[in-house]
Amino acid sequence: MARQYLLGNEAIAHAALEGGVGFVAGYPGTPSSEVIDLLRARRPEGVHVEWSTNEKVAFENALAAAWCGVRALFTTKHVGLNVAADPLMTSAYTGVTGGFVVLSADDPFAHSSQNEQDSRLYAAMAGLPCLDPGTIEEAHAMLRDAFALSEEFGLPVLFRPTTRICHSKADVELGPVPSVHREPAFVRDPRQYVVVPAHTRVLHRRLNEKQAVVRARLAGLGLNTGEIRGCRAVVAGGVAAEYVREVLPDGVSLFVVRAYPVDPGQLQSFCLEHEEVLVVEEGAPVLEDEVKRAAGSVPVYGKRTGHVPGEGELSPALVRAALASAGFVEKAPPAPPAPVEGLPPRPPILCAGCMHRAVFYAMKRVFREGIFPSDIGCYTLGLQLGTVDTTICMGASITIGSGIAQTVGGDVVATIGDSTFLHTGLPGLVNAVYNGANMVLVILDNRVTAMTGHQPNPTTGVTATGEERPKVSLEALCRACGVEWVETVDPYDLPGLIATLREVRAKKGVRVVIAKKPCVIVERRARVKRPRLEVDPSACSGCRTCLRFGCPAIAFEGKKASITDLCSGCGVCASLCPEGAIGKESRPPAPAAPSGGGA
């Protein structure tokens, strides 16, 4: 097969098929989402592919498939592994029969995340092997082979790509996809699958006994390799190893780690050949600590000694600076040119016509002194509109909201998306009702998991592979949780939205408003057309009320507002203009705006 220019996640998805995967489950999260998106688009025969409702649910489904002897893949972003941590820890005890790969994509620099945690630490805590590729080609080969490795050890294997693997591209050669015919069967064995204390103590001992076997086998695979070229050495892992290879001076040794746990003997014999060792890695100082344990009296530099940044992602320039600070190169590299200052920033913003903006605007109007806990999704961008006061993790809008309401009282209005509500919002809602919190919950229901790339969820009415299913009723769910006051509103109807929020404000207990409207990007792709809006310049007083709405389609030139081609025709700005100067455009609707495509 010829070489192709592929996204890391594309190569990983294909590698799973090459490795004979039969069951795939995950929850979308940047930078992991495209692995399942590509598999579900391909609809491989005989492979079950699902978007689950959260990572714990996905992990357990995939684990069960592996217990039935099928090769299984679970995908998540790093913070999703926290949600799945409960089954992860004990799955190391139970082990697996079918190969089980736990893909947890880390996001150094938090490009699209709430923290920079390091999945390698989970592998160490659980006692599982961890594969940490440095290039897309390595990721492809290592993921393909990880299923067999998992079966050999009888353990889940943690696979940890980072953003610069998942969302980078390279020329890759894909391999053939075998036709897999396994007869799945659940073989009853309570001593393995029922972790009561008497069983689990035995399983724990077995897990500990496996560690030496795993270390020796990984060392034998040749994934961790060193080359001695001088009296100083760099030990590097992940994509950082590539940055090191790019800038490493002649005469400095290099040891590259791609698999954990590292064999301490191998690491020790390498370190003892050198006078100083610098460890370069992204994330936590996981490798640094292993090197330190192995290096004896040889000085080890890294994050803990301040030679390598303790946070963010690395780059060739940062590795050069680390080499200089450790004294591995003579001269410090010249300071890079500084960016031009004083340019207006261009942060990501809610799209023109996004229903979240209308809801946030109405909330601000009605609850002037309100506290606004929010959640993880596109709507976190409501921060710019002053209606996102807290965001910590999936589902926490409701629980942080009820906690604040129980502590300080006042108007507490939490916002959460449909997918996030089903992910981990529900238990918090049951809790808020049960414990008598006084709060409003607004569910921003755009019928899709938008931010990560418009994956379907149980409110969409289709599965990952496009089969139709009944749509879950959020209204019925809320009522079943014991919420007495539930109202569904059209967020484009600003006066109606404001009236509903005013009515809600006067009530007590947990109240739920469901603002329901399909995501504007989904509508555009479905070629839904609405006439655009325009400003009548003779009626515009230049009061800037519409500008404060924050829609990217509203511009201001001269002393008048105007509406640009970005307008999607939601019409909300027309109802907030005090002069009535905004109305529907007389021209025919515009063609769909570009969104990442060509002509």
């Binding site: 591209k169 390279a170 020329d171 040119p337 920033p345 990501p348 570009p594």
Partner: protein
């Protein structure tokens, strides 16, 4: 040594398609390539950057002060990423500017087109009215291919490889429009005799 470039713009303008075309053109010539892209939330109308390393063999990232070429879909974004260019590097940019919402919402000063072009001057900018040329080619959505045509004089890739990659990267119905867009961009970017 790799030939390193950045493709920058506003989320939704098609920077990733442009990066795909250049990546595939590199493969047409049997050479290695590395790229890095912006995905996820930053795509929502935010400033986006694609790094591309033709003949790249290591990681995908291009360091500030080292890029050989900057291709910008927006004049303001050209200025924002200018510090990535090495001395003697070149910039090929659209003359179009989308005013960031922060200018209106926070009352921030917005540089004029002339001020932006003056900033670019040390890098001998090639500024192209991509919207007009794309319309002439048959679709305003072909601006990214116009820019590739204009940049082709500064890329270490053959015209035939670029055209083959365009054909393989755009929807089949739009191949003709995009071929015209490439030709118009290439003509507009031709070094003056």
């Amino acid at each position: 040594m790799s030939f390193d470039l950045l493709i920058v713009g506003v989320g939704g303008q098609g920077t990733i398609l442009a990066s795909n075309i250049l990546g595939r053109a590199t493969l047409e010539e049997g050479r290695s390539v590395r790229g890095a892209e912006t995905h996820g939330m930053a795509q929502r109308g935010g400033s986006v950057e694609c790094h591309l390393r033709i003949d790249g063999r290591y990681g995908p990232l291009v360091d500030p002060g080292t890029a050989d070429l900057l291709i910008a879909f927006d004049l303001l974004e050209a200025v924002r990423y200018l510090h990535f260019l090495r001395p003697g590097g070149r910039v090929v940019t659209s003359t179009g500017i989308i005013t960031p919402t922060t200018v209106f919402s926070q009352g921030l000063p917005m540089p004029t087109s002339d001020e932006c072009l003056a900033r670019l001057a040390p890098f001998r900018p090639l500024a192209i009215d991509t919207a007009a040329l794309a319309r002439e080619a048959g679709s305003e959505l072909a601006q990214n291919v116009v820019l590739i045509g204009a940049s082709s004089h500064h890329l270490p890739l053959r015209e035939s490889s670029l055209l083959a990659a365009i054909e393989r990267s755009v929807p089949p119905k739009t191949v003709e429009v995009n071929r015209r867009a490439f030709a118009l961009g290439r003509a507009a970017g031709a070094p003056s005799p």
